[in-house]
Subunit: 300 residues, 2 copies
């Protein structure tokens, strides 16, 4: 299925090898999956060269594409289930994929390490970790550190949580867009999801569309935001990983757990509960979730 | 004039002192202007307490406002002519003004120092300098520093300037909005201007309005972007400073010069040329520019 979809979205130019295309893709995909699993199990600091472990070779016909025709995407990548599934879904569609991970002082450095290992194993073009610890300085309690005093919210009688940072996704998408402009990518991908969103308004479809319009105007640049998971349930997100033959990779090597434990996690926190509930439902009724996921994403 | 406008935009509750209001404001304004000039000439690291040098006393009636009724604004403040004029224009309208200056490795640290001195002299509630040097890491040349190589634009045959950062104002406004949410301000003010904008699409009115909509959705918070200079010429911006009795302060203590020289600057760079051209035109025909500025801003 994945191979067929890959051919659909990025058809190789007609050549004498065309009739062998589907077979070639299937063999190549299996080889790739084995390779990415091996890379992850050996997880090391090895530097991967360009396309060393790409899902599909960029030019199977041997005819190099014009540089300006190359399809490029930037993905907001945390190394969790959602963004990793988005990455796996995007790999066959693009000639170059750039991952951005934001370091805003997450509780567990393991999250950034997991993202780095996954990006390397999946063979993305580039993986950049941006230091956004500034975000933590924008809490009310931090604002009081400045040179002229500012009233503390509680003293003033206002209820402002001093850990919650609204607008985090606005910043992530804006930085990803600036990056996209610099590398001349046409797409920014994010794994935000309205279906089981956690109450954050910056995960909603309306907001993503509005910000996309504002950014196109503000940079005078044609850039599309893609949100493949926006209308999927957690079980359907698992189905998408299965569709691309990467269920095990997502299951074992992504990190969503609030306690910083990879794979099935601590099993107790909210993130683990949501993840395992979705997985169990999917495993119980694979066919149903594969069908609904295919329908929502218009996949064959 | 300024006193009259101040009364219009933030009327004091009726009290036995009401008939003396205009006279009181005039005396107070003159005292304030003298004080802010003295503070600047003595420029030091002194910590100013709340409202120590406010343009208008926050509660002339003696009746304290309910905390939730306090009008608060956050201003993107560089210490240049435009943002300083915006600040002067905003002071009589708000109970609290928070200035944000972005440190993104500007050529001259003097810019940040000028902003700091002006914010203190004008008696804002708080002045925050946010470290945004990360912006410089988002140039194409910098992207190549990462752990997996990325093609250099020139090698790939694409013309991408490696110093220009699109989306700078998008970030400034987003950070200012996050800050505004934290201190529960209702307004974000920026001195961007379409009339003599420097070719940057993120200075246009359409963009500012689109981003305002996106941010309201993304933070689920009613926040208004104000752009008082959007349709003013440079001469009209000088007229606005004069209207508030602060022409000399803006002329002597703001820093717009690319060579980092305060006041009239080096006299040679583009910024100095634009600034002095506007000033000379204004001084030649004050009445005309005062009238057109008043008309555009609907001032009495």
């Amino acid at each position: 299925m994945a191979a067929a979809e890959c051919c659909l979205v990025s058809p190789t130019p007609i050549s004498i090898w065309a009739p062998f295309g589907a077979l070639f893709h299937l063999i190549n995909k299996k080889r790739y999956i084995r390779k990415s699993q091996r890379v992850l199990s050996e997880a090391s600091d090895t530097q991967y060269s360009f396309y060393s472990v790409r899902l599909m070779p960029p030019r199977s016909s041997g005819i190099p594409k014009d540089e300006t025709m190359r399809k490029k995407a930037v993905i907001v990548f945390s190394g969790g289930q959602d963004s990793t599934t988005c990455l796996i879904h995007a790999l066959p569609k693009y000639d170059e994929i750039h991952c951005i991970t934001f370091d805003y002082g997450q509780r567990h450095r393991a999250e950034i390490e997991a993202a780095r290992e996954l990006a390397q194993a999946l063979g993305v073009t580039a993986h950049t970790v941006l230091d956004l610890k500034l975000l933590n300085e924008l809490t009310v309690s931090s604002l009081t550190r400045d040179n002229i005093p500012v009233p503390i919210a509680n003293e003033a009688g206002i209820e402002v949580p001093n850990t919650f940072i609204p607008g985090r996704n606005i910043l992530f998408l804006t930085f990803a867009s600036i990056y996209a402009y610099q590398v001349q990518a046409q797409t920014v991908i994010t794994g935000v999801c309205e279906t089981d969103f956690s109450g954050y308004p910056d995960c909603r479809d309306d907001f993503v569309k509005a910000l996309n319009s504002a950014i196109k105007l503000g940079m005078d640049y044609q850039l599309q935001f893609e949100t493949p998971l926006m209308w999927l349930t957690k079980s359907e997100t698992w189905a998408l990983a299965e569709y691309h033959g990467q269920l095990e990779l997502v299951r074992e090597h992504t990190l969503s757990c609030y306690n910083g434990i990879k794979g099935s996690g601590c099993g107790e926190c909210d993130a683990c509960s949501l993840r395992s509930k979705g997985l169990n439902e999917f495993l119980k009724n694979k066919k149903r979730f594969m069908n609904s996921m295919r329908y929502r994403l218009s996949l064959t």
